[in-house]
Symmetry: C2
């Protein structure tokens, strides 16, 4: 593999590589791991996952013990030395700018010219989605045995990452409160 080839990998492919680097995994494992751990700041879709695994294998960055494992049987991938080198280089290169799509907020902006009741509906929708999120994603799962998780002082990196998600969620919920309070202000004016 030439030095330039890994540079062409998509961000998704590199993320997948990172998961395989942590410990050997199948495609399905990666999907589940991504769901649990990074789903609020990164999504890995099926449509990408398997083709990218194949690509990474072709580039020699990952490999699976049994060659051509017949049809749909599970194949467990592990990282090669070349893969590990590629991963490190990726981590050291500049990151893509943050990107977000939050349709609820966009609507909120345009709802400014509508009834206060519309804004209230949107805030309610927002609150519900973040509450769901707090329950299902932002809480840290049990520590995994394979995790050689760097201790950063008293806390592990994955604890810190979950902390970030938690703070983000609480912040969003607090903002919902602020908007509702402002809306109650109107109601009081009119009463």
């Amino acid at each position: 593999m030439s030095v330039d080839e890994w540079a062409d990998l998509t961000p998704t492919a590199r993320t997948i590589l990172g998961f395989v680097a942590q410990h050997p995994r199948s495609g399905y494992d990666i999907r589940e791991a991504a769901r649990r751990s990074v789903s609020y700041f990164w999504g890995v879709s099926d449509g990408q996952l398997y083709p990218q695994l194949k690509l990474l294998a072709e580039l020699g960055l990952i490999e699976s013990p049994q060659e051509d494992p017949g049809a749909r049987s599970k194949s467990v991938w592990h990282i090669t030395p070349a893969g590990r080198a590629a991963l490190t280089k990726w981590i050291r290169s500049p990151s893509a700018p943050l990107r977000m799509r939050d349709e609820n907020l966009v609507k909120m902006m345009f709802a400014a010219e509508l009834e206060p009741a519309e804004v209230l509906r949107l805030v309610d929708e927002r609150r519900k989605s973040f509450e769901w999120f707090a329950k299902n994603v932002a809480s840290p799962g049990p520590a995994q045995s394979w995790q050689a998780d760097q201790k950063l002082g008293s806390r592990t990196t994955s604890e810190l990452l979950h902390e970030y998600g938690k703070q983000h969620t609480e912040n969003a919920l607090a903002w919902c409160d602020q908007v509702e309070e402002a809306l109650r202000g109107i109601a009081n004016d009119r009463a």
Copy 2:
């Protein structure tokens, strides 16, 4: 236009419709407005903008005074009654789930197994990008004359939206502090 046609619009098209609804705008205006106001929770890419404008016009949701204005002269779009109805229906329908791509955080997760120095580099990168953001995007521009901005108690909706962006940013920066502090903890252990 049938009721079903507007339902097929993409989220991007609906966002564009929202901008035109606020007041008449050209494609370029929309692009700039999106840059200033929503760029941190929604992106409108050039590749989408003009085709979608054309589509909205074909559906009769927006129109431009001069028909076929020859070549590349500026055309200013304004919303039609049908367009306004479509917009309202959109705002009342369920929103797409929030989506995010934050490559820096992903790297942070995988850097857990590397040197603390790598994590430090990533935190530094993160801080810089959010500081840039605080300066260039998260601050409210001057109020526009066309803004019939709903007063929610003492504050307008756009003030509240900017407030959200600001809180998000401050939160992210505070988290950078936390991580760095944890890293200093290590340094002290070793000293």
